[in-house]
Structures are given as structure tokens and as C-alpha cells.
Symmetry: C2
DNA sequence: GATTGTGAAAGCGTTCACAGCC
DNA sequence: GGCTGTGAACGCTTTCACAATC
């Protein structure tokens, strides 16, 4: 039974995976209990933020004591919907698509690659990370056959909208977009994007400021932004 | 002469690369003039936001008319520090490091790969995207020899902090981190992270909400968050 | 005594709405 | 008349600070 609790602010949702990763590391090192202070240190944020974030999940800490690592892992996983696997389908078997398919980190973390497709006939048939590249025409059968809810767009920019359209038509309702293009999708479909060139350009901005004037700039752990 | 203007809010800085890309496409299609409304549509944001963002650069529009595409491209590029190339060095020649090195999108957009290094001797010497993989011991000479300011961490999580430390010691002051780990760096060094597993987990959260209750969820173009 | 959970305050970012300018 | 540039209002996010609880 999935939670029907109050919705969690977006900024908090984006930090839960970080806490989850840290807690999982703690678990692997046989740490059984932790505090907002300890988590904050490892996550590169402050303790009040950790407590506020975790409070949206419910009251799973113990005052005067802290948080039970395993219990908190369980609760975060439940909230994020990680109690079952989410197979993903990758569109685009170029450099990036291949790297993503071959990258173990996906399957390991509950996102097995259900398939990788490309429109280019010359790429079809090759095997990447144990998954055979198939024709984009097989997208609907992959999505429906394996109940794929999440699609990954790893095409060039000019093919990205078409890829997204096909994913949506096939029944996908979440898209992770690596192409440098703004996707338009119908209501009810969530898109997140990862834009490598943008990230470098943002770094360039701060780098430049530092180099021209000698001025202060967001610094220290983790991103200056979210995202 | 780089701008010594007021600092631009982080959220705005993060959108400038998107506007820049759209304007460049407009330029390529011989569009000479645009409006905040037109840009907003293509960027998937609203017009007021576009105007506010652009106003931080200065007053480069014309009331009653709009923005000159080429002039705005020039101003954004200048503000982002894109008037010259920023060579980058990649640490980690695994799946992802190779894909990044081979991905044309970097060099094309002013971030040529100055080098790719790995600690694993068996990887050294192979050539990826025209760049030979070198020993991590050569990091200082690559960074200093080619004035590299930006480093990319594409190692496994457990090697990421060590990679960051080496980059910082070599003189890099901006890091783009692909490893699922929080990096700690000295003041004066900027870090941005791209965390693939986190992005999928965030999608999972909204997917799950949609599937359990039938409830509304951030939707439509672009990210529900940042990032 | 320690640490959580949370109202209230402060700080940012977004949107509104319109004056200013072409 | 049309579109920018921007102060003001609004809403979201972070941080503070402390009462509640173990």
C-alpha cells in the first residue's frame, strides 16, 4: 500500500536520494543509528534541513537519540516508490545511450534496462551491457510487455522531441531527457532533464567571475544549484 | 574585458544556457529578432521570467520591438564567459568517461577535452574520441600545461573524493561530478553534480504518487525541479 | 543531556501588473 | 499599440530557535 500522505516539497524530494545513498553506505558499514547532524555532514547540508526533510516522511526519529538507519532507509525507499523495480527503456544507442545501458548503476539501484532502441538500422542488433539494441518500432511492445513507466531520451537534439512523442505514445509517463532540447509533453507526463553542456556553461560563469574580479562565488560541497 | 556587473541569481544563471541554445537555433534559422514571449514558449517558461532573467544582463531589448537575436547571443555568451574555450580534463575512463570524451557536444560548445586520465594502468594508452587515456599522474601537467580550470569526475563513487582532491591539487577550480558521492572541496572551488540514479529516483517518486492515488504531479515541459 | 519535530522568521525566486519607451 | 524592464506581491525554501520527548 503506497503512502497517501501529504505531498513533499520538490526541493526535499530531490534530496531524499542523497540521504538514501548515505544511509545505505552507513548500513553497509554496520552503522545502526545516526543523527540529523551526522547525516547533514555527509550530505553537505545543514542539520535543520535534514530534520525538516525527514519530517515530511513522518516522525521516524527518536528525540534525544537520532534515527535508526535501517528503518529510515525503509521509509525513504517507500516514499520514493523504490519498493519495486522500475524498468526503463533507452531511446538512442549512440555514445551516451550505450554508456547508460552499460553503466551498472542503473540496474543496481532498481532501474533495470528493459530495452534500448534506435532508429538507425546499422545500430540494431549490437549488444550493449547485455541488452540488444532493437528497432524503435519495437518501443510499444517493450513498454507494454514490461510495464515500463520511465523512458530515457539519449538522442541528438533534433531527434529528441520525436523520441519523446514515441515514448509517450507507447505509454511512458516519466522521461529523463539527456538531449539538449526542451521537450513538450502532454499533461500527466513528468520530464526531468540532464544537460551536460549547460552544466559546463554554468561552471564557466562562476569561473569567469572568479577570474575577472576577485569575487566570491558559490563554493564548497555539492552543487551551487538543482538542481 | 569581462563584465564587472552585479551578480546574477543562481536560478537565472542556470537558465541562460537554455536561452542561449534556443537563440542559437533561431540564428541558424535566420531569425533576427524575437520577444520574451517567443523565447518563453521555446524554453518552456513564462515570459516574465525570461524578461527578468535577461534584465540581469543589462537592458538589451527594445521596448515595443523585442530582442535582437545575434546581439542577445553575444551578451549571454559574454556573461557566461563563453568568449573563449574552456578545456576540461576528465578523470575516469570507464563507461561514462569514455562516452563523455567521445561525445562531440563538449568540444562543439567550447569545452574541448584537454585530456582523460585513469588510475587503472590497463586503460592507459587507449584512444577515445581522438584523445589518448593517460595516467592520473599526468594530471598536474595536463592542467597546468593547458590551463584547465574545469575537471570532470567520472569515476566510481569510492574513488570520487580522491579524484576531486587530485584535481584541486592540480589547480582545477570547478568540478562537474558524475559520481554518486558528495565531494568536499576547499573554499574557492565550485562543484556541480549530475546524479543519474537520483534523477530516476525522483521520477520514481512522482510516478508512484500518480499510480497510488490519482493525484496531480509536476508535469508539462522541462524538469519538475532543477536540476 | 541529547536530539527530534516544528512554528515562526528570513531569504530567494517567481509572477503580476504597469510605467516607460519605442 | 506593443513589448520591455522592474517594483511590489506572492509563494516556496531555508534557517532559526525552542518546546517536546526520550
Amino acid at each position: 500500500m503506497a503512502s497517501t500522505r501529504r505531498r513533499i516539497p520538490e526541493a526535499s524530494v530531490a534530496r531524499l536520494p542523497v540521504y538514501l545513498r548515505i544511509l545505505t553506505e552507513q548500513h553497509d558499514q554496520h552503522v545502526t543509528s545516526t543523527s540529523s547532524e551526522g547525516l547533514a555532514e555527509l550530505a553537505g547540508v545543514n542539520a535543520a534541513k535534514v530534520r525538516k526533510d525527514l519530517s515530511y516522511l513522518g516522525s521516524y526519529g527518536t528525540r534525544g537519540v537520532g534515527y535508526d538507519v535501517d528503518y529510515l532507509i525503509y521509509q525513504i525507499r517507500r516514499e520514493l516508490g523504490l519498493t519495486h523495480d522500475w524498468p526503463v527503456v533507452i531511446v538512442g544507442a549512440g555514445n551516451l545511450g550505450q554508456a547508460l545501458a552499460g553503466y551498472g548503476g542503473f540496474g543496481d539501484r532498481g532501474f533495470p534496462v528493459a530495452g534500448i532502441v534506435d532508429i538507425d538500422v546499422s545500430k540494431i542488433g549490437s549488444v550493449i551491457g547485455g541488452v540488444r539494441v532493437r528497432s524503435i518500432d519495437e518501443l510499444p511492445s517493450i513498454v507494454q510487455g514490461q510495464s515500463v513507466a520511465i523512458g530515457v531520451v539519449a538522442t541528438p537534439a533534433d531527434a529528441a522531441q520525436e523520441a519523446a512523442d514515441r515514448l509517450v505514445r507507447a505509454g511512458v509517463t516519466s522521461i529523463l531527457n539527456f538531449a539538449p532540447a526542451v521537450l513538450s509533453v502532454p499533461p500527466g507526463v513528468t520530464v526531468r532533464k540532464v544537460d551536460l553542456a549547460s552544466e559546463l556553461q554554468i561552471l564557466s560563469y562562476y569561473e569567469q567571475r572568479r577570474q575577472s574580479s576577485l569575487q566570491s562565488v558559490p563554493t564548497g560541497s555539492t552543487r551551487g544549484a538543482s538542481a
